[in-house]
Amino acid sequence: MNAERLISISNLDFQYGKDLVLTNINLDIHEGDYIGIVGPNGSGKSTLVKLILGILKPSGGCIELFGKDIKDFNDWERIGYVRQKATSFNPGFPATVEEVVGANLYSGRSTPKPGTKKARERVNEVLSIVNMEKFGKRLIGNLSGGQQQRVFIARALINSPQILFLDEPTVGIDADSQRDFYQLLEIFNQEMRITIVMVSHDIGVITQKVGRIVCMGDGKLLCHPNSSRSEISSMLKKVYGNTMDLLIHDH
């Protein structure tokens, strides 16, 4: 493994008040990875992602982003994020797709200045990556769930991130859109060389799509990206019960 190490987590602990939510998490993410984080509801997947994104502060341990301690890190435009329930905004919100996507240009120092012609071009560029270029002037609340999800992915792509985090992005999206969505992620990972970390509790699908699986249960990492298929399989069995056996296979 000689790809660049983008994220390195060691001995990470986190608690909400007195509740210990994550204990002793160790995880490395390398350039080009396509990782799926799976685990039951409440196992701490979203919390882990929020810690990596600096939304929450660790109670112990450390997180390095692009070789820098998270406290000294400020190249946030290198990281894209589509949060859990991104599409659960107020559906009557009067904002166009272009306005929603363009708002995210704020963070980027190397990206075009908001409000300029270049910025508008960049918005159209990312919308066409997700096949939504025809919907720029539409109100976001009038789109279908799958279309909204693609808009939020475009928004996360606008600063050309090197790594993209997606938290349960397929929840509430019909089967056809889900297929398109996984195809899109494959293009991101294979052609655009974007590292992808995707959270899901739907392990049936995700184990077939991603390169490697991280499995969480009860605030602990039960298996790592480097675990063998049989280790993962037995872990998943432990967490979910026996039925998962069939779903783990090499591709």
């Binding site: 994020y81 949060r83 166009t96 995210n104 704020y106 002037k137």
Partner: protein
């Protein structure tokens, strides 16, 4: 025609009305979309207690109202962070406290002040040049702040967590914005009255949102709706000798009804 323009008080009232017609919906659109409309109602009652305190102590009432409402705004922002699940309750408590203090101070003063009536319901005759200056100076500051931070406010309103990750100093913007709400309410009290100021922050916005095809349009149309109501309301209250606040708010309700009616007619054709 237009003979009202020769009176100084009408010139001041209209000028103040035009500024308030920009301020209220500009602040209001963010409040409505963040489902925080209640905060305007709470702060206006606190501002009223400031007016009463000013009258009792002989200090310029608008300055006292400004101090009281800004302090309450900071308090609400603090409570909102600490006890987010009780935000609604905190607003109700602050509203009651504000109204309670106002009533106690007024009864203490033992004289029913005509001026106080103006602060409650809006009275264009009582807008003095000092008030006018305050409204113009602070109003321009508020408009400038919202203009300069428009994108940040939009992002926070649409998705607060996303805004934080995008590097927007959400806490600082929220805090400043809350202070601006208090200032807007205080400035608008002279024309619209404490009891109705939050309506002028909400109703024109509702009208604007009905018609808008983007956020920018929603903002502009809300301002247009508020201006129509404020200017025609002030003129109507002059001719009909009515309290300006009620006239303005009723006109803005009428405008909203008109828009809703026309919209549903068009849909049914």
């Amino acid at each position: 025609m237009m003979e009202f323009l020769q009176y100084g008080f009408m010139q001041r009232a209209l000028m103040a009305g035009v500024i308030i017609g920009i301020l209220c919906p500009m602040i209001g659109i963010f409040l409505v979309l963040r489902r925080m409309s209640m905060i305007g109602n709470s702060l206006s009652h606190v501002a009223l207690s400031g007016v009463a305190a000013g009258m009792v102590s002989g200090i310029y009432p608008l300055a006292m109202a400004l101090a009281f409402s800004v302090a309450a705004a900071l308090g609400i922002e603090l409570l909102r962070k600490k006890y987010s699940e009780y935000a609604e309750l905190a607003m109700a408590v602050i509203l009651s406290a504000g109204l309670g203090i106002a009533v106690v101070l007024i009864s203490y003063a033992k004289s029913i002040n005509v001026d106080l009536f103006g602060y409650l319901f809006g009275n264009i005759v009582t807008v003095r040049s000092g008030d006018m200056m305050l409204i113009a100076v602070l109003g321009s500051l508020i408009i400038a702040f919202v203009g300069l931070n428009y994108r940040e406010l939009f992002y926070i309103t649409f998705d607060e967590e996303g805004a934080r990750i995008a590097g927007i100093p959400v806490k600082r913007v929220n805090l400043l914005f809350t202070v601006l709400i208090a200032m807007t309410i205080t400035l608008s009290m002279r024309i619209v009255g404490a009891l109705l100021v939050s309506s002028l922050m909400v109703i024109p916005v509702a009208t604007g949102i009905q018609l808008a095809k983007s956020f920018k349009q929603a903002t502009l149309l809300s301002v247009v709706a508020a201006e129509v109501a404020a200017v025609s309301g002030i003129i109507a209250s002059y001719y009909l000798e009515l309290a300006s606040g009620g006239t303005i708010v009723l006109l803005s309700v009428a405008l909203l009804m008109l828009v809703l009616g026309v919209k549903s007619l068009l849909r049914n054709i």
